[in-house]
């Protein structure tokens, strides 16, 4: 995704428009394959029964939530370094999808925790860090939209994303430290080695979410481009 930022908004708009349907199609196919493997092929878990199948949403969502933050921060860094509009628009386009996956990770984590740990919420390292990550996304979106001048919002939010990026491992580490001192109960939610079908299903879902995220971000950035560039000739000619 990283090489696009060099293009101009008008060429990128057309390019993204051409690409987007393919990403959504891939996402749909991969989801179908992932759910097939997850529900038909993968066997019942010895300890958790059927409910472990939440893992096919929970882990991919959690991975995507972190990955998309890195992507967002990369675009933020590019936008500050090269002072390009498009990189900033891509950062804005990625953020809501990242927040969505963070929410899904938290929600599915809660509904997996209840039958397995006995509680919807536990202050373990991953859940707490994920919650803070959700607030970091919200902060980015709020700050970007808090100014009348969109470029000001671009640059302030980009700097915030980078400060948050440095903090992310620290937040995880601090909560992990705090948790191990208090309880030492970071639970292993799967067996020692995953059944092949389970792993396959999970990886398929990871790619499905990834393709969806690209499709959603490209769709969003096209709207952002239209809105920001609406006074240019090429937009008015559309």
């Amino acid at each position: 995704m990283n090489w696009f930022y060099l293009s101009s908004p008008s060429t990128f708009y057309r390019f993204a428009g051409w690409l987007t349907p393919w990403f959504f199609a891939l996402a749909a196919l991969l989801t179908a394959a992932g759910l097939y493997y997850g529900f038909i092929v993968a066997p019942t878990d010895a300890q958790q029964g059927e409910v472990y199948r939440v893992i096919f949403i929970h882990v991919p969502a959690a991975w995507m939530s972190m990955f998309l933050y890195f992507v967002m921060a990369a675009y933020a860094a590019a936008s500050l370094t090269f002072n390009t509009r498009l990189a900033a628009m891509m950062a804005r386009a990625v953020a809501p999808t990242g927040a969505l996956f963070t929410f899904v990770a938290l929600w599915t984590g809660a509904f997996w925790g209840r039958p397995t740990w006995g509680t919807y919420w536990a202050w373990d390292a991953r859940m707490t860090s994920e919650l803070v990550l959700l607030f970091l996304y919200f902060g980015f979106i709020a700050l970007a939209n808090a100014f009348d001048d969109p470029r000001r919002g671009d640059r302030a939010a980009a700097l915030l994303a980078l400060i948050g990026l440095v903090n992310l491992p620290i937040i995880y580490f601090s909560v992990h430290w705090w948790n191990t001192l208090h309880q030492g109960s970071t639970v292993k939610l799967t067996g020692t080695s995953m059944h092949v079908a389970m792993l396959t299903a999970m990886l398929l879902m990871v790619f499905a979410f990834w393709m969806y995220a690209i499709g959603a971000a490209l769709t969003r950035v096209r709207s952002i481009i239209l809105e920001r560039e609406r006074r240019t000739r090429w937009v008015r000619a559309l």
Partner: protein, 46 residues
């Protein structure tokens, strides 16, 4: 609560969240279209 409840709540919420995001994308698209129309109208007035 049997395990079906937790699975449905998880997958259901995910599907709902994706539906909401797609709805928001459609709305954003419509809004940008509307803003372009407004720009055209403003230009036509000149």
């Amino acid at each position: 609560m049997n395990h079906g409840f937790y699975l449905w709540m998880s997958y259901g919420a995910t599907a709902l969240a994706l539906a909401i995001e797609i709805a928001m994308l459609v709305a954003k698209r419509a809004k940008s279209r509307r803003l372009i129309e407004e720009e055209r109208d403003l230009e036509a007035q000149d």
